[in-house]
Symmetry: C2
Subunit: 172 residues, 2 copies
Amino acid sequence: MNTEHRSGCPINLSLEVFGDRWSLIILRDIIFGGRRHFRELLNGSIEGIASNILADRLKRLMELGLLTKADDPSHKQKAIYSLTEMAITLVPIMAHLGAWGRVWLPVSEELSIRAELLEKGGPPLWDRFMDELRHEHLGAPVKTPPGTATVRRQLQAAYEAVVARKPQATAG
Amino acid sequence: MNTEHRSGCPINLSLEVFGDRWSLIILRDIIFGGRRHFRELLNGSIEGIASNILADRLKRLMELGLLTKADDPSHKQKAIYSLTEMAITLVPIMAHLGAWGRVWLPVSEELSIRAELLEKGGPPLWDRFMDELRHEHLGAPVKTPPGTATVRRQLQAAYEAVVARKPQATAG
DNA sequence: CGATCTGCTTGCATGTTGCAATCAGTTGCA
DNA sequence: TGCAACTGATTGCAACATGCAAGCAGATCG
């Protein structure tokens, strides 16, 4: 690990953590895609990350304290990656990044529906989502009332609804 | 300009814009430092950007629509860089990045006071600041009542106060 | 026992970065 | 007029990062 810093500016230090083309993408897939294994991250990546880059970034993110790694009891060679609180608190930043991208960049409809819902839900939704992640990744007790649809499932359902609607829109 | 995108995901597209180690640093210096010229950005950079990288990033940010360039009437070879609305709307993201960095990373006190104030001020302060930037960079009319201290000046004053206090703290 | 899956590494070609030096044109001053 | 300082860049070069394809050893399944 390189422990030298260019400056003590918070924006700079944040950029030193995820100011590259892959780190946030990996965290995004873990946070919103629910991926926990190396292969899931590798094969599920729509951006097509290379395996050596993925391995390098996972290692880096662990060293930086954003991820932890544990054995998967179902398979002795499988590893489960978990978010730390440090990574979970990136949810608002992800939401803002998504909102900004939706306004200014050529986003695709199906991939931006999640960002749209996250933006509309605002901080209350982000908090709910972060609590879910804490439960999932840190084993924290669930705070949401039982039976409530999880935020990730809501986002996923909305995504699938857009995908399902797409061919109809083309046909009609 | 590379117009190929890895995916239409808003987070990914945002990362393609400023997912590198310098673009946001440059925008930060323009937004919070009020720097408008090449030399100001080059010599004022605490992170020590190289001139070729600066030239490259300024060009890139212009092509991406985050900056515009105009002649400085006082000097035929001087250029003035201005933020576009696209760049001004990054203020909330900067604020969140700063807030996150302040919590999790080894920030220095004097360089994080701005982030602290920005966080405490919340969206209302960000909006005021963005209006100031619109006035400064886009020639928009000022919305704040006359006589109000500008947000940038407030942040700058707070920074200088911390710097001035520092030697005392060491001595006493 | 062999096919497949696991996380991860290696080799290699290419692209990006950072540093120092340098560029030509502009300006201010003597 | 002469000349140093300053303007926004550009160049050469070494180091580093990236992406792709192939390969690794151990675990699991049938």
